[in-house]
């Protein structure tokens, strides 16, 4: 019974044969997996999977042409999400999709995200969205973390929540945010009711072309509003706000550059109004918000 080959050697042989088969089989595959994941191929694979970079996502956000969709649980969404994002849990896609269907169908681009490098929810959601006929669906991997770290505009609250003070919300208490939102709503006619939820999506659809000019304007707005935003925490609300939804998009001082973009997708919406006027742009948002609120 004494084996001619030792136990360990046989074991090693089994392992070796397995590795050989694995490598041989992998080599014959058209979509072979690199043995070691190198950044380049990883990046390529990412692109193949429809992923976009944070910079691209921020651009889309700024342009107002994209609707961001949060694939995480509704509870996590409520704790914080990309400003204007819609909550759509891929696990409850069937139930939740109809409510946001219109919004998504109108969007030029849809960006799904969740949280974590390895989070697959955003990909699952993207597949499901493609499955219902939506074409331009991208994935921002590890979106929530990246977005937050970059200081881009965020918001808190449930789907139906008001959109204002998104950025501040992150850093400040939810209460403060709510308070600011309410104030903004009260003072600024443009601001939607607290219950309404601001949505970027609609505005974006409206005017891709405008985005350029809007962007500039937005930037200006941001700068102007910036001070206002700061005041928010203090409960001071700029009187100008009524005209300008600025409060909605208060950009963090640091984020200023990017803020304009996220700050408000509003720019796109301006469509109805004169594209060149920044203030109006924001005004446009309110309708959007309302629409969203209705949907949700």
């Amino acid at each position: 019974m004494k084996p001619p080959i030792s136990f360990g050697l046989k074991t090693a042989i089994i392992i070796g044969v397995s590795i050989g088969l694995a490598l041989a089989f992998n080599a014959t595959r058209p979509d072979r997996l690199p043995l070691v994941r190198d950044p380049e191929s990883a990046a390529q694979a990412a692109i193949q999977r429809g992923e976009i970079s944070l910079a691209e996502a921020a651009l889309l956000f700024r342009s107002g042409q994209a609707v961001f969709v949060d694939a995480r649980e509704a509870g996590e969404y409520a704790l914080g999400h990309i400003d204007g994002a819609i909550s759509l849990d891929p696990l409850f896609f069937g139930q939740e999709y109809p409510a946001v269907q219109e919004l998504l169908k109108e969007a030029a681009t849809i960006v799904t995200y969740c949280d974590g490098e390895l989070c697959e929810l955003s990909h699952e959601l993207a597949e499901q969205l493609k499955g219902v006929g939506l074409r331009d669906v991208r994935v921002l991997r590890n979106g929530w973390t990246l977005w937050r770290e970059q200081g881009l505009p965020t918001a808190t609250g449930d789907q139906v929540k008001p959109r204002d003070g998104a950025q501040e919300a992150l850093e400040e208490d939810l209460e403060q945010v709510d308070a600011a939102a309410e104030k903004a709503a009260e003072e600024g006619g443009a601001t939607p009711e607290p219950g309404d939820r601001p949505q970027l999506p609609e505005p974006r659809e409206i005017m891709p072309g405008e985005s350029g000019s809007n962007g500039t304007e937005q930037t200006n707005q941001t700068l102007r509003h910036a001070p206002q935003e700061h005041s928010f925490p203090e409960a001071e609300i700029p009187q100008t706000q009524p005209l300008e939804p600025a409060p909605l998009k208060p950009g963090l001082p640091e984020a200023a550059p990017s803020d304009p973009a996220h700050a408000e997708p509003a720019p796109e919406q301006p469509a109805p109004q004169a594209p060149s006027e920044e203030p109006r742009i924001q005004d446009v948002n309110p309708p959007v918000l309302k629409t969203q609120g209705e949907q949700s």
């Binding site: 397995s18 590795i19 088969l21 490598l23 997996l33 043995l35 509870g75 996590e76 390895l118």
Partner: protein, 142 residues
Amino acid sequence: MNAASLARGSRLALALVFLAAAPQKIMAPAEFAASVGSYLILPDALINFTALTLPWLEIVVAILLVFRVWTGQALFLANAMLVVFLGAIVGAYLRGIDLNCGCFSSAPTVSDDMVFYIVRDVIFVVLGLTAAWLYRRGYDSD
């Protein structure tokens, strides 16, 4: 006789487990690699290699078990893999990693999936150890 049939049955069941699990991993290596990565155990450099070779090792071991070739080594490797799998998933569970999203879930509740996977893996380990024990006892010989 009972022990002999139990030995044969457990060995074949073990082989079946691996034969059932491996093909889909082999056919979708990228997905499996993502899955391996979601455990946050292996360094990036080893994830793809592991994802590529592990299912083939399962296949080879299963075949050896079915045909009773180098059965002792195959049982050893089978149990080693099962124990590693169980350890990985329990480790993920303890660290609060939600394997469904590959992220550290902020929710305190653990999905039922995790419990299911752990229970399933425990059963597999028991099966594997039973087969190995019976084999060592000499029940699995003709």
